[in-house]
């Protein structure tokens, strides 16, 4: 088991290195003078020179890269051009809002997606199956920003049931953004649950369970669903990256004070250190969740544990 954990932990290193290279290249490969881009046409030569020196832009690229990596390892992501505050501090202040939104979306998508998938598979070909799959098709086709705006229009503007935007503390602020972010994911989960459950239901051990005279409920929930959930965990894990990316749009629509919206504002203001920091932070979160999913595999699938025990 430890060998498995170590292998997975080590695999995160090249991914994080890749993310860091990407964040670094963003500044280096941007056409034109980054200092001029960041400070604007009105900046004096003196201001430009100071920024170049501060960020090491006057040094060769390899020196800049070494400095960038060394700072990154120490958790130093530079300073925001707009606020002059450390980027890491700014991002960490917004991290809870983003994590709250992402976790709420995942929970919602699992709570909605799995039952839909189960109903759909168990009652294959029925009206319920068709409706669930229609939801699954629609859920992946709707652009998140549009869905968010429509939900806002219906539930906040017309019905007045929920606040339209912001994050003032109450759970009611979380509902619309979480639904917006979680819909696509729940559609994917519903589809995956359905197809993997249909696959599992054909297996011999399910036939045996039925032949033993077990109730359909026990057969589905204790024998079939447990095995089908493995692929569902994969989908949740693999899609967490795109869910995080969806955070960028959802937070912009609902003025949710998280890293996504902060990043969009920084892109518009050409605040490169913040954009670089946000890329690193998102990359880190995606890698951390992938790692968590891999470890979860080993917990729920004895075959993976066994592989590594034999390998020793």
């Amino acid at each position: 088991m430890w060998r498995y954990v170590t292998t997975r932990l080590l695999a995160v290193i090249p991914v994080m290195f890749g993310v860091a290279v990407l964040a670094f290249l963003m500044l280096v490969l941007t056409p034109g003078d980054p200092a001029l881009l960041m400070l604007g046409e009105r900046a004096t030569e003196e201001q430009l020179q100071t920024l170049r020196q501060e960020m090491g832009l006057d040094k060769p690229a390899y020196v800049q890269f070494a400095r960038f990596m060394a700072n990154l390892v120490r958790g130093d992501l530079g300073r925001s051009i707009r606020s002059s505050r450390p980027v890491a501090e700014e991002l960490l202040a917004r991290l809870p809002a983003t994590v709250e939104l992402a976790v709420a979306a995942v929970v919602l998508s699992v709570l909605l997606g799995i039952p839909l998938g189960v109903i759909s598979a168990v009652r294959r070909g029925s009206l319920a199956d068709h409706l669930a799959m229609l939801f699954a098709l629609g859920g992946v086709a709707m652009p998140a920003f549009w869905q968010g705006l429509m939900l806002m229009l219906i539930f906040a503007v017309y019905l007045g049931w929920l606040p339209p935007s912001g994050r003032m503390g109450g759970l009611e602020y979380l509902v619309l953004p979480a639904i917006t972010l979680g819909t696509r994911e729940s559609a994917l989960i519903a589809r995956m649950t359905r197809s993997s459950l249909l696959e599992v239901i054909r297996q011999d051990y399910i036939r045996t369970a039925r032949a033993k005279g077990l109730s359909e409920r026990v057969v589905i929930f204790r024998h079939a669903l447990r095995n089908a959930l493995l692929s569902v965990v994969t989908v949740v894990g693999l899609n967490f990256g795109s869910l995080l990316a969806g955070v960028v749009v959802t937070e912009t629509v609902f003025s949710w004070p998280g890293i996504g919206r902060f990043m969009v504002d920084a892109i518009r203001a050409k605040d490169f250190p913040v954009v670089q920091g946000a890329v690193v932070m998102f990359g880190f979160l995606a890698a951390a969740v992938n790692l968590l999913v891999d470890l979860l595999y080993a917990v729920i699938d004895p075959r993976i544990r066994a592989q590594y025990v034999q390998g020793r």
Binding site: P143, F145, G241, V248, M263, V275, G283
Partner: protein, 295 residues
């Protein structure tokens, strides 16, 4: 003997591939979802091609006295905050969205496909190096990659197409590699190599045509993703710039008037959703048709 073997190869390969294609087409047309998707896509494509004839107004013409009007016989889908005809803008927007989809998928296909083909064909350290790079890129969310690339290149439609295309390169590389590995050791490929065909010829003439099924499916499905991603990027201000009638940008520009006239946001979003839905239906249908084992 050798030249005979080489000459006879394409013929022996062509015969079954044609019948397989026909079978796949028959299976595709028997799928009701895929048929609906195909019909909708055809309508959208025709509207895009014949936009100047389909549109009732100039998509950029501003008529401020007519701003934010609801649907009417004069303006079928109403007007936006500049009094521009929404129907005409959506029709022209189909051109932009389809262009985004096809251009970015072509970029991903050429770059990713070549990477996968070369990696699987040559194997060894080339394969190892390319696939490690692909693994790293795959671990980074593709829209994050796209945002990074657009930030580098600057906002704009062309840059969004490049960004969305490059961001999906890793998945194409993986799929192509897997497909090539499956046929790399086939007798007809080995025969072509033994007959002295150059690497390029073996790859392009013998391997590539037999790897197209998974790539076609991926391309159709990623057309939908590309359109969605580009619309999202336009919505946050990184994509198409005003007054271009791109669907995502249209919704973004008019969202502040949503309370007074919801149609300014509703219709462009619906256009995206319908197009993406149709592409997904066709993609799913193609996947089932090209891989009968899935049925």
């Amino acid at each position: 003997m050798t030249p005979v073997a080489e000459v006879s190869l394409p013929t022996s390969q062509t015969a079954p591939s044609v019948s397989f294609g026909r079978q796949a087409l028959r299976r595709l047309l028997r799928n009701p979802g895929a048929c609906v998707g195909l019909v909708v896509l055809t309508i959208i494509a025709l509207a895009a091609i014949f936009a100047p004839y389909v549109a009732t107004h100039d998509p950029l013409e501003q008529r401020l006295p007519e701003r934010l009007q609801g649907p009417s016989p004069e303006h079928w889908l109403g007007t936006d905050d500049f009094g521009r005809d929404l129907f005409s803008r959506i029709v022209y927007g189909a051109r932009i969205s389809l262009r985004i989809g096809f251009t970015s998928v072509s970029i991903a296909l050429v770059v990713g496909g070549t990477m996968g083909l070369v990696a699987a064909y040559y194997g060894g350290w080339i394969d190892h190096l390319l696939m490690r790079i692909v693994d790293i890129l795959l671990a980074i969310p593709s829209i994050l990659l796209a945002i990074t690339i657009v930030t580098m290149l600057g906002p704009g439609l062309n840059n969004v197409m490049i960004a969305v295309g490059l961001a999906t390169v890793p998945s194409y590389a993986r799929i192509m590699r897997a497909a090539v590995l499956a046929v790399r050791e086939s007798d007809y490929v080995q025969a072509a190599i033994a007959a002295g065909a150059s690497d390029l010829r073996v790859m392009v003439r013998h391997i590539l045509p037999n790897c197209m099924a998974p790539i076609i499916v991926q391309a159709t499905l990623s057309l939908a993703t590309a359109i969605l991603t580009a619309a999202g990027l336009s919505f946050i201000g990184l994509g198409a710039q005003p007054p271009e009638p791109e669907w995502g940008a249209m919704a973004a520009q008019s969202r502040q008037y949503m309370r007074q006239a919801h149609h300014v946001v509703t219709f462009p979003g619906l256009a995206i959703a319908i197009t993406v839905l149709a592409l997904n239906l066709v993609g799913d249908g193609l996947r089932d048709a090209l891989d009968p084992r899935l049925n």
